[in-house]
């Protein structure tokens, strides 16, 4: 794209761009996806790229991320080689069914789509939305373009992503791992739309790993919609491990039916700017929603977790624990909204956000928001922003541990509370190691890479 006006308004730039490539977007896409495009685009035009005046984006300035002259991956490019051959996940003994998304496009060639139990689907959204549109539209979309300009933009531009379907009663023994790889020869913008359907009584562990190759500016704006049927269980791990010139905006929507259990883990290990929107709608009684997040930032990195939990039905439990470690000039934000609707009695909703600032220059914004319209509920929220406990540090040193080691122990202890909630054991151990490396100031990549220390 090349609209180069001096100080051109970015939103206008993207509006013009959409019009320019509209045909390309519609081409080859399913009716379902195309049906939403124009309306979503209008919605984006109305809202624009969020500025800090937008209450929900108060702590994150997205504009610099949208400034580069990106190339877009509107049509599929496949790598010659099998991605499984060139990209190795370094989590030992993680028995997963592996799939790849390459620059926003699901790679059927490199994915083990036929190694799943009968009825389970792991495929590209593009093809599912053409071949089984009735399956895709089984659930009404949760991602409302009017509510968020990034969702609007995603809906307008999305052509592919992954589609995961676990039918009623099927319990997957192995986790599904989706490696989301960005690799461009120049600055690149990807838009990905994903769906995860876990039907009644089914069970799924899903691991989504975001990686980037090459040192370009990347922007990824993805939306994932998740439906979890009654009595079903989902563990959803999101590992964000890119580089400092990567912006990762991921909006995840989860709807739960009665007696279901969903746990999300958002581990932001590396990235220039990360914005995670996570919205839960507890739409049946006795649901349990656990939302964990951790981030480790240095340099000028920025992570913003924006969560919303809607308790729409009685007797549900939600539990949020987010921890951030901020070094150097990094910045972070956490905004968590809990909404208990009028009849959602006996709701238990907990939220905690703890932040460790390692320097005077690092900053953290944290903002809980409770909207409670029922009377018989238990809600709590707490946030702390602090430094390493000096008393504890002295205690460790007084026993012979040097200062660096004592600090490391304290930081690991801080993160440990979140890490221990990872139920996938090899992943937990690997994350433990990665976090330890990260906290030691080493580059913690969960795969081999040849970059220098500055990526």
């Amino acid at each position: 794209m090349s609209v180069t006006l001096e100080k051109v308004d970015l939103s206008l730039k993207y509006t013009a761009y959409y019009k320019q490539v509209k045909e390309e977007l519609f081409e080859g896409s399913s009716d379902i996806l195309n049906a939403q495009r124009s309306k979503a685009f209008q919605s984006f035009v109305m809202q624009g790229i969020p500025t800090r005046k937008n209450e929900n984006y108060k702590y994150t300035n997205l504009h610099p991320s949208f400034s580069p002259e990106f190339s877009f991956a509107h049509s599929k490019t496949e790598k010659e080689a099998d991605l499984q051959e060139i990209f190795r996940c370094d989590v030992p003994q993680l028995n997963t069914t592996l799939a790849f998304v390459y620059n926003g496009w699901f790679s059927r060639k490199s994915s083990a789509i036929d190694q799943l139990p009968k009825g389970v689907i792991l495929d590209s959204l593009e093809s599912i939305s053409k071949q089984q549109p009735e399956l895709l539209s089984r659930y009404a979309s949760l991602a409302d373009p009017e509510e968020d300009p990034m969702v609007a933009m995603n809906t307008a531009f999305a052509k592919d992503g992954f589609f995961v379907y676990v039918p009623k009663g099927v319990v997957l023994e192995n986790a599904i791992q989706i490696i989301n790889l960005m690799e461009g020869s120049s600055d690149m913008f990807t838009t990905q739309r994903n769906y995860i359907y876990v039907e009644e009584g089914a069970k799924l562990q899903l691991l989504l790993c975001d990686h980037s190759e090459n040192q370009n500016n990347y922007l990824s704006n993805s939306v994932t919609e998740v439906f979890v049927g009654s009595n079903a269980e989902l563990e959803f791990y999101m590992l964000q491990n890119q580089h400092n010139k990567a912006t990762n905006i991921h909006s995840v929507f989860v709807e739960q039916q009665r007696d279901s259990r969903v746990t999300t883990h958002t581990a932001s290990l590396h990235g220039g700017l990360i914005r995670n929107n996570l919205k839960f709608i507890l739409d049946g009684e006795n649901c349990e929603a656990n939302m964990y997040g951790m981030s480790f930032l240095d340099k000028k990195q920025h992570v913003d977790n924006f969560t919303q939990v809607i308790h729409a039905k009685p007797h549900c439990v939600s539990n949020q624990l987010y921890k951030n470690v901020l070094d150097e000039q990094s910045t972070g934000a956490f905004a968590g909204r809990i909404h208990v609707v009028r009849d959602a009695q006996k709701t238990n909703a907990f939220q905690r956000n703890n932040n460790l600032l390692l320097t005077d220059e690092a900053t953290m914004q944290t903002k809980p928001q409770l909207i409670i319209d029922a009377d018989d509920v238990k809600c709590s929220h707490g946030a702390t922003v602090g430094q390493i406990d000096e008393e504890a540090l002295f205690y460790l040193r007084a026993r012979g541990l040097d200062e660096g080691k004592a600090r490391l122990i304290m930081m690991n202890a801080f993160a440990h509370e979140v890490i221990q909630e990872i139920k996938l054991e090899p992943l937990r151990e690997r994350i433990d190691e990665l976090v330890d490396k990260r906290l030691k100031g080493e580059l913690a990549r969960c795969h081999d890479c040849s970059y220098g220390k500055d990526c």
Binding site: R397, R399, L401, M410
Partner: protein, 250 residues
């Protein structure tokens, strides 16, 4: 072993220690007593290397070397141990990992081979028996959820593991029942040797029945105002501190 000369210490501009002199020779046990707020814990913390205290003048030699310029961990590895008056709870740091690191840091410093996990566990069990620590406690995070007595025992347990040359016990006996008190005393006495010394800060004569001091000092308003043999502790037990306060009122 330890030689404190005319030590002045302030915190936040407030002078707390006002010219402390103290000589501890190898094998000796010194008791320090004195009313609350006299500066006993301040003295202990300064010796262990707590940074927020400012030494405005004076010097401290530990085995002939300038102690005050060393980092807390260096002091620890050279054989100085502080049993904290208020041991710190450190959630998320498992006791076992912490203790193993501590022991191995000491060993490395002395040029000894680090202990394997198995060797360490064996050593740990041995010392745990000695101080009568409940085995469950080592499965927890450092001091987390420990009762007051358990925290104090944990200090002595760590002392037993690290075998310091100079142990400073800051009110380790406060709040302990008589059995726990004996355990603490046994821990200290087990380490007694002609080379090792201890400074025992206490309010109570009863601990000194078990750990018999060579000297008893009274610290009052930042100064050692009286030094005598173990009989001074008995006298304090009987008469309280009022006479000290009167003698030093000005």
């Amino acid at each position: 072993m330890l030689s404190i000369k005319d030590l002045y210490v302030s915190i936040e501009g407030m002078e707390i220690l006002k010219g402390i002199n103290l000589e501890v020779k190898p094998g000796e046990i010194h008791a320090i007593m004195g009313p609350n707020g006299s500066g006993k814990s301040t003295l202990a913390s300064v010796l262990a290397g707590k940074e927020e205290y400012e030494v405005t003048s004076g010097e401290v030699l530990f085995e002939g070397e300038n102690l005050l310029e060393k980092a807390p961990e260096e002091r620890a590895k050279e054989g100085l141990f502080l049993s904290f008056q208020y041991p710190v709870e450190i959630p998320g740091v498992p006791m076992v990992n912490f203790l193993k690191s501590a022991v191995n840091e000491h060993r490395k410093y002395k040029g000894e081979k680090e202990l394997t996990a198995g060797e360490f566990l064996k050593l740990m069990r041995e010392k745990m028996d000695m101080v009568d620590m409940h085995p469950n406690l080592t499965n927890r995070s450092v001091n987390e959820g420990f009762s007051g007595g358990e925290k104090k025992k944990n200090e002595i347990f760590q002392m037993a593991l690290l075998e310091p040359k100079l142990a400073i016990l800051d009110e380790t006996d406060s709040g302990l029942d008589i059995d726990a008190l004996k355990t603490v005393a046994n821990g200290v006495n087990a380490l007694r040797s002609p080379e090792r010394s201890a400074i025992v800060v206490t309010h109570y004569q009863r601990l000194l029945d078990y750990i018999v001091p060579d000297y008893v000092h009274i610290l009052y308003k930042g100064k050692i105002v009286k030094t005598a043999g173990k009989e001074l502790a008995l006298e304090l037990e009987e008469k309280g501190y009022d006479w000290i306060k009167t003698e030093n009122a000005n």
